[in-house]
């Protein structure tokens, strides 16, 4: 019998989470000014970016802090998707051309953890599609 939470669709166990880094989304050091970076997140392949003030240690701490059942949005195809937000409510990065304090964290069955900034609206859209119950709690906690 498959034990929910410990085994994924393939029947393989979920490994302990380990941070995988964020090469694609890591802050751009000594690069364009933030407004240009932010605008770039809404162009081309729309790659979200962490803010230049975020260190990799801070990003790792942030992403690893929300791997729990309270922040689990859904599980699909061997990936669990969680949400998180900056500890003080400040901007952590940009996505789709907007500053945001929210992130999405992907935890792969093999244990790798990888996250990126996400807009509040896209988080809401994601919760509405996959976890309406969590959306209610989310809107109570983050009304605007």
């Amino acid at each position: 019998m498959r034990r929910r939470g410990k085994f994924g669709m393939s029947g393989l166990p979920w490994q302990d989470p380990i941070w995988a880094g964020c090469e694609k989304h890591k802050p751009i050091r000594n690069g364009p000014r933030w407004p240009i970076v932010r605008a770039g997140t809404n162009q081309g392949n729309k790659v979200a970016k962490y803010h230049e003030d975020m260190t990799l240690d801070e990003i790792e701490e942030l992403e690893m802090s929300f791997i729990d059942s309270d922040h689990l949005i859904y599980e699909r195809r061997g990936v669990r998707y969680y949400y998180g937000n900056s500890f003080g409510g400040g901007v952590v990065g940009a996505s789709y051309g907007e500053d945001t304090s929210f992130i999405v964290i992907q935890r792969y069955q093999a244990g790798h953890v990888h996250g990126y900034p996400e807009t509040r609206q896209r988080l809401i859209d994601r919760m509405r599609k996959y976890n309406p119950e969590l959306l209610v709690k989310f809107l109570e906690r983050f009304p605007s």
Binding site: K24, K26, G31, N45, V47, A110, V113, H114, Y116, R126
Partner: protein
């Protein structure tokens, strides 16, 4: 869905940073980050999903994502695997002249088969 054995494809030439075990034929708008592979000498391969175009995007970059050396758009998971193989091989071939690759700011656009 296509099962992906990145470790076998890498064959000791890098490591899997993250990836799901299988790649479906299509994804929804929220499944943007598919896989990332670390190669030697600071090279990375990112596999992303562009929901606007409904195509996979395979990017070879060095050190930072902004230093993209090649970008390949793919329609299917099998195209993704082939593109990754070609980029790994290309990196192998050019590793002796990596500095020239590194300083080439042009972005190569490959047409998938």
């Amino acid at each position: 869905m296509t099962h992906i054995d990145w470790t076998g494809i890498l064959a000791g030439r890098g490591t899997v940073d993250f990836s799901s075990l299988e790649i479906p034929e299509s994804r929804d708008e929220f499944e943007t980050d598919v896989a990332q592979l670390s190669l030697h000498r600071g090279f990375f391969i990112d596999v992303g999903w562009n929901s606007d175009t409904a195509r996979y995007v395979v990017t070879l970059f060095r050190d930072t994502f902004e230093n993209a050396l090649a970008e390949v758009e793919c329609s299917t998971p099998s195209d993704v695997v082939e593109a990754v193989r070609q980029l790994i091989d290309a990196t192998d071939r050019t590793v002796q002249s990596a500095s020239s690759l590194h300083t080439n700011s042009s972005k190569f656009q490959f047409q998938d088969a």
